[in-house]
Symmetry: C2
Subunit: 190 residues, 2 copies
DNA sequence: GATATTTATTAAACTGGTTTAATGAGAATT
DNA sequence: AATTCTCATTAAACCAGTTTAATAAATATC
């Protein structure tokens, strides 16, 4: 679980003993391509960390997937909205590849935060990080054109395009597959 | 500061003594319509609570305001992005009406959180609340049409339309004034 | 290796916004 | 009261996306 450790320590200092205490609750879990970690209607019991693979986070609207996010190596994730609000999820979490995650239950997260001030701070800071990501996302949705957002994604997460079908990336960008195809054509003609 | 108290306690229980400790740091401050609480280039020193009035939070892009949010009575606010990242702001905070706020410095917020577990919890929960708001905002930007977002705003914050000029509401919705006008016309014709 | 299925592209018609510019209506200033 | 300024609407031309449908290419399955 070295990469999990490293990611936690990228937020704040955590002593070896606190880290050991926290990590004991994480369990390794594997999913085959196409498996669901979560389906609509369920309550959120777990937090996840991606060791290897890719998980899509989406809702179904009128028969098509609306992709909110792709979680790849090093991401902490869950359906955070349903997790916080303690409501039934209306989303899917689906493995787009064979995927290995480390998972911790909501109850154990509480235990860890009660036990370790340092890890509670990690929790707060990772929450802040999520705020920053969402803030930038909103700004991108408001101020950039679809083409600009496509180029931005290409720049920030280039490997995504090798591992995820284009129509899901289109959805993530808020486009139809046809729309993204047009943008790509327009760019290739320059 | 009864309304400030009430708003804090809507998040979590806070004892009278902790509340008293926290509130001592807040100072009342008034701004005239058109005054700026913040301009680009500044670092964020304060957190605010709106007692009375309305403050717009926006950036300037190519000569036009891009309104991120309108803060009205009961809102906690600052340029949270610059506050968290500890970077120079690229935004404006401008009073759209004569406005009364309670303000607390960043250093005093830290003091309060160090002193009171209950108020630190309030801080965490208000941060979570902000996440939920932003999450819903992203979903609205992605899944609703401009017309639907207009109707949604009309439903959720009807008084805003009596106190804020329409071209700023258009900006908040991610539209031009012409675009919003068209939507309103279309709706009135039905 | 042939067939079926999934994914990506293209074309055509359409739509909901944009930009620019002119007009109108209200509010503030002199 | 007249003038100026700000704000909202309208019109016209335009554009970047949509939908639908057909086709092509790649991938999975038998």
């Amino acid at each position: 679980m070295e990469d999990l450790k490293r990611t936690i320590r990228s937020y704040t200092h955590v002593s070896d003993s606190d880290m050991e205490f926290g990590l004991q609750f994480y369990k390794k879990q594997t999913f085959k391509k196409g498996d669901f970690l979560l389906k609509p209607g369920q309550y959120i019991d777990n937090f996840y960390f991606v060791k290897q693979g890719c998980v899509s986070y989406y809702t179904m609207e009128e028969g098509t997937a609306q992709v909110m996010e792709f979680f790849t190596e090093g991401y902490f994730f869950t359906d955070l909205y349903a997790y916080i609000e303690d409501i039934q999820s209306s989303s899917y979490l689906e493995a787009l590849e064979d995927t290995i995650v480390y998972t911790i239950s909501k109850a154990d997260v509480q235990k860890v935060f009660d036990h370790s001030h340092q890890l509670e701070r990690f929790g707060r800071l990772s929450m802040q990080h999520t705020f920053v990501i969402n803030f930038q996302r909103i700004n991108q949705l408001r101020n950039l054109s679809n083409q600009e957002r496509y180029l931005e994604l290409l720049r920030k997460r280039p490997t995504l395009f090798q591992r995820v079908p284009q129509y899901l990336i289109a959805s993530y960008l808020g486009l139809t597959p046809v729309g993204l195809s047009k943008i790509r054509k327009r760019l290739s003609q320059k």
